[in-house]
Symmetry: C2
Subunit: 196 residues, 2 copies
DNA sequence: TGTACATCAGTGAACGCGCGTTCACTGATGTAC
DNA sequence: TGTACATCAGTGAACGCGCGTTCACTGATGTAC
């Protein structure tokens, strides 16, 4: 493959992915339609399949980008924060804000499941786990004597609790809260979780 | 309408609903297929539409049954428990167990969304809110001076946190935990939430 | 320099399938007179 | 008691649409000799 071919191929792949992201942002998982995405990207249907084996592969790529954006947001938000409790609060708020500002990307991240028998590729699992590292670090400061295994489990529990509050809120289940009240509840939740 | 007609109609409605529940239990939201459900219930496709306006109405009925089952499980589990913290722990474990033992009913409860512009009927919202009452009662004992509004919000937050832990665990995101470890984490979460 | 061939991105019509929903019709039961 | 009509549950073929995926083909670019 020549350099020109490679460059062209990479551009196509990128443009298809961008169109897929735009589709998800516009209408969520349901709005993902290979024909539309191909047209939006400026290619034919067949081209999409030259670069992504199937729809699931394309969605995996979209979710990978979403995870990357969350990671970036978290890294920026916690920059320079020393206090572990403050860091955890900022992380939770960052997660909440991201979900709020990117609802459909976020729901797609958690709403897309591969069909049974098609396991999630390891690199994608690793991307997920990497995000938990942001939570694990301050938790370790707060619990210096905790062994690694317990810390991993506890990290997951804390993430799950925060994630649950974000999910229930964004779905508008039960009562919808104002943004301010929701942020207060998030702070409450984090404070309770880290109490000693 | 004669009594005979009414009885026949009700039986059909019930049998269709039972077939729908069985379908969800067998394959989740994806497995809901009017043709299959009609056949399973022993009727034709048209009959389903005589009793449920559309697929969404049928799924709403399924979810209503699921909510009823959770409600029953919670009522039984908390019977005779006086200590509010103990009650909250039992409620969380009951919720976890229900989700574990009825995975597809549970994921359908939270995975089914009506199309935009079709609001969730009020009776169904009320069914959801009713469940929160189980949590609100012990929370009120623990926080007797909390005003009603704050209590409602706090109840929702506590539910959301527990719900999140159940969701992340059942989906098998990140690492899967053994049942025992998961129950320990659930107790930890509830304990932290009610700390004063 | 020119000719024949290989390679690869990209094309888009066609395949195949699933599935929600509708509607004209049937037959049983009940009612009016 | 009998006849005509009304009502309603149930039927299932047909409509209509969407959509993932495939594959034989095109044309541009590069390579061998």
């Amino acid at each position: 493959m020549t350099a020109l071919q490679k460059a062209k191929s990479e551009e196509t792949q990128r443009r298809v992915l961008e169109a897929a992201i735009a589709a998800v942002e516009a209408g969520g998982l349901e709005a993902v339609n290979i024909r539309k995405i191909a047209a939006e990207a400026g290619y034919s249907v067949g081209s999409v399949y030259k670069h992504y084996t199937d729809q699931d592969a394309l969605l995996l790529a979209v979710n990978s980008v979403t995870l990357g954006r969350i990671k970036t947001a978290m890294a920026e938000a916690t920059q320079g924060i020393e206090d572990p409790v403050a860091a955890l609060k900022v992380l939770a708020q960052t997660y909440l804000n991201f979900a709020n500002n990117n609802r459909l990307l976020w729901t797609t991240l958690f709403g897309h499941f591969l069909p049974e028998g098609k396991p999630v590729p390891d690199w994608h699992i690793q991307e997920n786990i990497a995000l938990l590292g942001f939570i694990a670090a301050p938790l370790k400061v707060l619990n210096p004597d905790m062994n690694e295994e317990t810390l991993t489990i506890r990290t997951r529990t804390c993430f799950a609790a925060v994630h649950g509050l974000v999910a229930i809120s964004l779905e508008g289940r039960f009562v919808s809260l104002s943004g301010e009240t929701l942020e207060q509840e998030m702070d409450f939740l984090v404070e309770q979780l880290v109490r000693n």
